[in-house]
């Protein structure tokens, strides 16, 4: 069984693309080989900055002969048809056989495709893979038309058996496959030949190339950790950076340097961001003080001076970068101390948020109004929430955030504190963008929650008001993320909001707002003229004219947005393990626009369904419902007159009456108190009486009076159950 080794040697592959490319190479090659009839024992793919490699072990030496039988014309068909069939099957007419087929007989051809040696198949599949490789971005170079992520220089492709290695004959646009490769660009640039994967890997290591990205990452992490540990320090973990750095070097050499004392007082987030974004350095922290004191850089080579020149150069670049950061920090603090945080926010009137939704200042005005409205619902002081909303985005005008947009919020928190604002306001500045993703922390401080909700709800209602909703994979304003943020904020904090009404009011508000902007923008004489500064008093927007059509649009948009939130909620709950039919059963209930209530109901229902009583109750309900629905369909009446207990016959039926009385008595106050667990429990208690009832009693008896009474009794079962959740939506 031969082993296959492929290496695609190119100029530097972007770090972020390497892992995916290695996987794609493996997937596409093995798929192609298998489709061509080969099998293999195992495959592994690797990537370094300059190479993609694939090792396939235990490949079959050739594809099997394939025999395929094809049915042709019936016996007695015209000669031309039979000849044509033989030609299309690629066999002589004499080789056709007459065999039974259905009622008569038909001509059959047996087509034999002989097996092919692995080398030919590998060459063909590899050429196809190279030409159609799914790089996120690819390019041409020189005068050629081949596309690769960066110029492709060499292909190594060998099949290794006990007899030795054999180069797979292959030529792609003048790049001929061989059995040689090169080591480290600077430390071992000369070509060498290899005979197998083990040989390849070992020789690469001697030539200062670690083939396996994981090995490089481990090496970096362990070295960095040890160096820091030896100084009583710790490396700040950063998995994304580690993966990236491991993709930037073939031979990682870890070096640790000091940050000049001038910069140690910068906020740790600033140091970390500047070092990571600009230099791809790891931060090294003093665990005692929490301060970032050193950096770790990963060089791509060893040097005679043990990295001294490299480290000195890196430290110098860092000092220049941090001087910039310090300059921004000090300028920002000066602005805040002179004009306060609201002063810093001043320029936001000149920054457009969206040309139909106005400037950032307009947006902040809307968020402020909404935060004030939401505050009482989340236990925040309205004035404090409004103040926080007013300054939460002030840092967008800071120089630091201009340089590092990812520090928005974080800097706001520092500047709010520097401005002497209440801690709750500083926290809201810091936290109001959260949660940024499904696993990001959710704020719980009331003022933060009010501003975070107001921010996201304003974004959603604003874009719904101007009809810019996410479609398919396009979601340029991250509205799905905003929706998930609203959901997680509400659920985590148990926030109770009647969303339906609120969304209508907000969409209405944003629509009026946007009409004003549109009229201002369209009033501009032409794009060549100087843009005016647009400032609209948020409170005056109520004056914008809206028509009956607009009102219909607002209702539609708000309903659509609520449905969008429900969809996102379903996705979110499904990830939490809540069944989608359980959510549907609760969505159909009243007040489903109160997400917290909705989820409590769903959780109670899911919990009930996990009990034996609950599960069986649903069966009982379904049985009752089916019989009743059929009877109602047949009889054309609704059996909702109320069953008469005096007509009950036998203990089971009497017991069911009693049980329903008890359940109704328990469920109604429980629902009133929104105690869904108690309501579900009471409902589940019906299981035994219902089962016993069905066991002992026949519904459709000959006695019409008894039958009607029993159908009315089934109606009570249905009504009681449906008052808790729409069990008809559950899948059985």
């Amino acid at each position: 069984m031969p082993d296959l080794l492929i290496e695609l040697f190119s100029e530097e592959i972007p770090a972020r693309m390497q892992a995916r490319a290695a996987e794609d190479l493996k997937r596409l090659m093995t798929q192609g080989l298998v489709d061509a009839g080969l099998t293999y024992a195992g495959a592994r793919a690797f990537a370094t900055p300059r190479r993609l490699a694939l090792a396939v072990a235990g490949l079959t030496p050739e594809s099997p002969t394939r025999r395929e039988e094809r049915k042709g014309p019936r016996e007695g068909a015209p000669d031309a048809a039979i000849d044509g069939f033989a030609r299309s099957a690629g066999v002589p007419r004499a080789a056709l056989e007459l065999r039974a087929a259905g009622k008569g007989r038909a001509w059959f051809a047996t087509i034999e495709t002989p097996g092919r040696p692995a080398a030919g198949i590998v060459a063909e599949v590899l050429e196809g893979v190279v030409r159609g490789f799914p790089w996120p971005k690819s390019m041409r170079w020189g005068a050629g038309s081949l596309r690769w992520v960066r110029p492709l220089h060499a292909i190594l492709c060998i099949l290794t058996t006990e007899a030795g290695a054999e180069v797979v004959p292959l030529d792609i646009d003048g790049i001929r496959a061989g059995d040689t490769t090169r080591g480290h660009r600077f430390m071992a640039p000369d070509p060498f030949s290899v005979t197998s994967f083990e040989d390849y890997r070992a020789k690469l290591k001697r030539a200062f190339v670690l083939l396996d990205a994981e090995e490089r990452a481990d090496h970096i992490w362990i070295e960095a950790h040890n160096m820091a540990f030896a100084q009583g320090l710790e490396v700040v973990e950063d998995k994304a950076l580690l993966a990236e750095v491991a993709g930037l070097v073939e031979w990682p050499v870890v070096l640790m340097g000091a940050i000049a004392p001038d910069f140690l007082d910068l906020p740790p987030e600033v140091l970390q961001t500047s070092m990571r974004e600009h230099q791809k350095f790891f931060s090294v922290r003093n665990p005692a003080s929490g301060r970032i004191e050193r950096f770790v850089t990963v060089a791509s080579r060893e040097t005679a001076d043990a990295g001294a020149t490299i480290l000195a150069g890196n430290a110098k670049v860092l000092a220049a970068r941090l001087s910039d950061a310090k300059f921004f920090w000090e300028n920002d603090l000066r602005v805040v101390s002179q004009k306060g945080l609201e002063g810093m926010a001043e320029g936001l009137a000149q920054v457009t948020f969206h040309n139909k939704l106005g400037s950032q200042a307009d947006r902040i005005g809307r968020i402020e109004a909404l935060a004030r409205e939401i505050a009482p619902l989340v236990g925040a002081q309205p004035d404090l929430a409004a103040e926080a909303a007013r300054v939460a985005k002030a840092d967008l005008r800071s120089e630091m955030v201009g340089e590092f947009p990812e520090l928005q919020g974080t800097m706001g928190g520092y500047y709010a504190r520097a401005a002497g604002l209440p801690e709750a306001v500083a926290a809201a500045c810091r936290e109001h963008y959260q949660p940024l993703g499904p696993s990001d922390a959710v704020p719980t401080a009331p003022v933060s929650v009010a501003v975070a909700l107001a921010d996201k709800l304003d974004t959603l209602t604003g874009f719904w008001a101007i009809d810019e909703k996410p479609t398919g994979s396009k979601d340029p304003y991250a509205l799905r993320r905003a929706a998930l943020g609203v959901i997680r904020l509400m659920l985590t904090n148990g926030t109770r909001v009647t969303l339906g009404r609120m969304l209508e009011l907000r969409v209405d508000f944003c629509l009026r707002h946007s009409k004003l902007f549109v009229s201002v923008f369209s009033a501009l004489p032409s794009a060549t003229d100087r843009p005016p500064t647009i400032e609209i008093d948020v409170k005056s927007t109520a004056s914008a004219e809206i028509s009956t059509q607009d009102i219909a649009f607002i209702e539609r948009a708000a309903a659509d947005l609520l449905a969008f939130l429900h969809d996102r909620l379903k996705v979110h709950l499904r990830e939490q393990g809540v069944r989608h039919d359980v959510i549907d059963a609760c969505l159909a209930m009243p007040n489903a626009d109160d997400l917290t209530l909705l989820v409590r109901r769903a959780e109670a229902l899911q919990a009930m369904l996990q009990t034996e009583d609950g599960e069986n109750l649903v069966q009982g309900f379904r049985r009752a419902n089916n019989i009743l629905t059929q009877a109602e369909d047949r009889d054309g009446v609704e059996y909702s007159f109320g069953a008469d207990p005096r007509l009950a016959q036998g203990p089971e039926e009497e017991a069911l009456f009693a049980a329903l009385d008890a359940a109704e008595l328990a469920i109604e106050p429980a629902m009133e108190a929104e105690d869904f667990a108690a309501a579900m429990h009471a409902m589940a208690a019906l299981r035994a009486p219902i089962d016993a009832f069905f066991e002992a009693v026949q519904i459709n008896t000959d006695n019409a009076v008894i039958r009607r009474n029993r159908l009315n009794l089934l109606h009570r079962i249905r009504a009681v159950c449906l008052s808790v959740a729409d069990l008809t939506r559950l899948e059985g």
């Binding site: 971005k137 041409r140 020189g142 005068a143 600077f186 070097v249 001076d305 020149t309 920054v351 040309n355």
Partner: protein, 313 residues
């Protein structure tokens, strides 16, 4: 790889070494384009010559202006006027990376002691309608060059592909010379009878232009100039391909000059902060439209490789 050259002594020596290195690799050494540009890429020897099938190899210094980067000469690293060294070779040779590393060796950067890396950086010029894939080249964590394989210019696919190298000369030279503040960098040999620093040459102009860029430039006039340049570019390109004597002369370069002007005027207006975020895109789009039309025109000329040039009357 060859041995590194000794360390240069001055800013100009770095430039001279790069020029002679690329001359030795067969490039024509051009002089700077005589117009204000934001980057060496704007020189028609790059923008226009990257188009069409004809081979090309050029290297040149290009003074470049980025009005928003002005810091009155105080910042150690930022200048509103600085120098780029630009190399453009079409088609990109297969050993362009090695040639590039050779140029580092020529200015005294020995890869045996430095960490040289190619870090992904895709280049895009929205105003030129151009993009390419490549890297920024890092030396010990510092970006010393941009390395790009041009894929499109002026909206046209580049066939063949040009390889473009851009060195930020001040930054590179400061590193090679071990200088921390650009104004302290020796411009000529410190042992010369009249040793002059970068500051001696440029500190005053940095201050003057910073003030002008940020405060004094007449924005109404700049807006007017922008419109004029745009209109003139369109007018030139709208002219018949034959002159009054009936000779086929498409005026791609004169039109492109107006495109360069519009682009620079946009940069000046941007520095004054009088272009809003939404307007910004519109202005960039207008310059791109000019660049695109100039590229279209260039491709109908001989240098652009037109095979069916209009017959000379």
């Amino acid at each position: 790889m060859a041995d590194p050259a000794p360390r240069p002594k001055s800013f100009q020596e770095v430039i001279l070494r790069l020029q002679s290195y690329w001359a030795a690799q067969g490039c024509v050494i051009l002089q700077p384009y005589d117009m204000e540009v934001g980057a060496g890429t704007f020189h028609p020897a790059t923008t226009l010559r990257a188009l069409g099938p004809r081979p090309w190899a050029a290297a040149y210094v290009q003074p470049s202006r980025r009005p928003t980067d002005g810091r009155y000469g105080d910042n150690p690293n930022r200048l509103q006027h600085y120098y780029q060294f630009q190399v453009l070779i079409k088609p990109s040779p297969p050993d362009l990376q090695e040639l590039y590393l050779g140029s580092l060796l020529a200015i005294g950067i020995d890869p045996a002691f430095h960490d040289i890396r190619f870090v992904e950086d895709d280049w895009e010029s929205p105003t030129l309608g151009a993009w390419g894939l490549g890297w920024e080249v890092w030396c010990d964590g510092m970006e010393v060059s941009q390395f790009t394989y041009f894929q499109q210019v002026g909206g046209h696919d580049c066939r063949p592909v040009s390889g473009e190298l851009t060195y930020g000369l001040e930054r590179l030279a400061m590193y090679v010379l071990g200088v921390d503040h650009v104004m302290e960098m020796p411009f000529n040999d410190p042992a010369a009878p009249q040793p002059l620093t970068y500051g001696d040459v440029f500190r005053q102009t940095e201050r003057e232009y910073s003030r002008w860029n940020f405060e004094a430039a007449d924005t109404d006039l700049l807006f007017q100039h922008f419109k004029d340049a745009e209109a003139e570019c369109e007018r030139i390109l709208a002219a018949a391909p034959e002159d009054d004597a009936g000779r086929a002369i498409v005026m791609a370069h004169p039109a492109y000059d107006q495109c360069i002007k519009a682009s620079h005027l946009f940069n000046l207006l941007d520095a004054r902060g009088v272009i809003s975020v939404t307007e910004r895109q519109a202005y960039i789009g207008r310059v791109r439209m000019l660049a695109r039309k100039c590229a279209d025109a260039f491709l109908t000329t001989e240098a652009g490789g037109a095979t069916t040039a209009p017959a000379d009357a």
